[in-house]
């Protein structure tokens, strides 16, 4: 290290100085700080440099985070916390609760009440509000259903005629309250995706879906349609209004 720094070197050293950071309290930085304190031009430069950093920092931290991310994490949170608690010895306590519930006749089977259609819809739509990571990308529906079958998810799907006319983008499997859910994403005419979910009807008895008649419900600027098939409960979700989904069911 040279004993005396020129102004360019002082500016270079000051550019990494962070007030309060112990790593920037070394002699070289102290020397640069002292030089800036004694030189109005350097002091002015340094003040502007710090102001610039503050502005850039503020602008970078104002960048948008996708609206669906927090919901997606919440959806995972419930499952992962539950799982990690089990891993950490929660098993014994849970077993005791179940034993007591069975003893007093209040045990209804699953670990929590069967979910409602609204809960099912909210959780799955929050997952696809950000384009979901697909496990298989293919425009061939046969390849997608083969993949779903191989992975234990619903695969013998009764896909509405309007959706079948669209090119698939891909598929993946999901878990909802311990049940396998199949997700197939289709490419809409406007470049957006429309998502079809399917889960075994018996797995979610409270869904209460009528057969063949889609039940539409908005969620923010998204629209959903849910209905019951012979074996599966279906849910379609896409950005837009009711008409944007109705066309796939031939009801408009």
């Amino acid at each position: 290290m040279k004993d005396k720094m020129d102004k360019s070197e002082i500016r270079a050293v000051l550019s990494v100085y962070r007030p309060g950071d112990p790593e920037t309290e070394d002699p070289r930085l102290q020397q640069a700080k002292a030089a800036a304190a004694a030189d109005p031009e350097l002091a002015q430069w340094w003040a502007e440099h710090q102001e610039f950093d503050r502005i850039i920092s503020s602008k970078l931290q104002s960048g948008e985070v996708p609206a669906g991310l927090r919901s997606r994490l919440s959806a995972w949170e419930k499952r992962t916390v539950q799982r990690s608690n089990w891993n950490r010895g929660f098993l014994l306590a849970a077993a005791s609760i179940i034993a007591l519930a069975v003893l007093f006749g209040s045990w209804r089977g699953p670990f929590q009440p069967a979910p409602s259609l609204a809960e099912y819809r909210d959780e799955l739509v929050s997952f696809v509000k950000l384009d979901p990571p697909l496990e298989l990308r293919s425009s061939e529906i046969v390849r997608l259903t083969e993949f779903l079958q191989k992975n234990g998810a619903p695969s013998q799907l009764d896909i509405p005629r309007g959706l079948r006319r669209l090119d698939p983008a891909g598929c993946r499997t999901l878990r909802f309250r311990g049940q396998d859910v199949a997700l197939i994403c289709f490419k809409r005419e406007d470049g957006e995706l429309v998502h079809l979910f399917a889960v075994k009807r018996g797995a979610l008895p409270r869904l209460g879906l009528k057969r063949e008649t889609p039940e539409f419900a908005a969620q923010g600027d998204w629209m959903t349609a849910a209905w019951g098939g012979d074996d599966y409960a279906y849910l379609v979700a896409g950005k837009g209004d009711r008409a944007s989904l109705e066309k796939y069911f031939g009801t408009s």
């Binding site: 360019s8 070197e9 500016r11 270079a12 050293v13 550019s15 990494v16 962070r18 950071d21 112990p22 790593e23 920037t24 430069w45 502007e48 440099h49 102001e51 610039f52 950093d53 502005i55 850039i56 920092s57 602008k59 970078l60 931290q61 104002s62 960048g63 985070v65 996708p66 991310l69 927090r70 997606r72 994490l73 919440s74 995972w76 949170e77 992962t80 916390v81 799982r83 990690s84 891993n87 950490r88 950000l130 384009d131 990571p133």
Partner: protein, 183 residues
């Protein structure tokens, strides 16, 4: 003593999902990948977080996990291997705060994403203002001197990029104004 297992998962998500997403975005340059990296980080925490003994290390642990996942997924580790010790700082070009204040946040984001990989990660962590230099060195697993040098060089590079981008934007505005006047 507060045990790490006592750190409430939900609060952890609330406190860190946004900075983690922004760090993921700066690394991957893709929103969907940044979201996946963030999600993966919390999943890893749910499974392995209880192994961490010191609650003060939670923040660094989360950022390190996200960074390692990014390297693992992208197999970009080779790009980050140290070939030489970098310890020199550089004088950044002058950039007026009043001009910086007028720049759209998207342009600033673009200037950050334009940086070379080796500068982008430390500069992002620097501007998040959540990490000391030592923590940045731990997260990126590079020497402290290298972190400071890369931040110095990265910040200088970012100013040059901002200068270029604002010039391009200004030209577009002039061009549109002229078209409007001619049309």
């Amino acid at each position: 003593m507060v045990h790490v297992a006592d750190v409430e998962f939900e609060r952890l998500v609330e406190d860190f999902y946004m900075p983690l997403y922004r760090f993921g975005l700066s690394l991957s340059r893709k929103e969907s990948e940044a979201a996946d990296l963030t999600q993966h980080t919390f999943l890893t925490w749910a499974v392995k977080g209880h192994q961490l003994r010191d609650p003060a290390k939670v923040k660094t642990w989360l950022f390190t996990t996200l960074y390692r996942q990014f390297l693992a997924e992208k197999r970009r580790a080779a790009h980050f291997v140290e070939t030489e010790e970098e310890t020199e700082f550089v004088e950044p070009p002058h950039f007026s705060p009043s001009v910086a204040n007028a720049i759209d946040a998207n342009i600033v984001q673009k200037a950050l994403l334009n940086l070379e990989d080796r500068y982008r990660a430390p500069v992002t962590l620097f501007y998040m203002q959540q990490h000391s230099y030592r923590e940045i060195a731990e997260i990126l697993e590079i020497p402290l001197g290298t972190v400071m040098s890369r931040i110095s060089r990265g910040k200088a590079e970012m100013r040059r990029s901002l200068d270029d981008l604002t010039t391009i934007e200004a030209r577009k505005i002039v061009s549109l104004t002229n078209e409007g006047q001619n049309g």
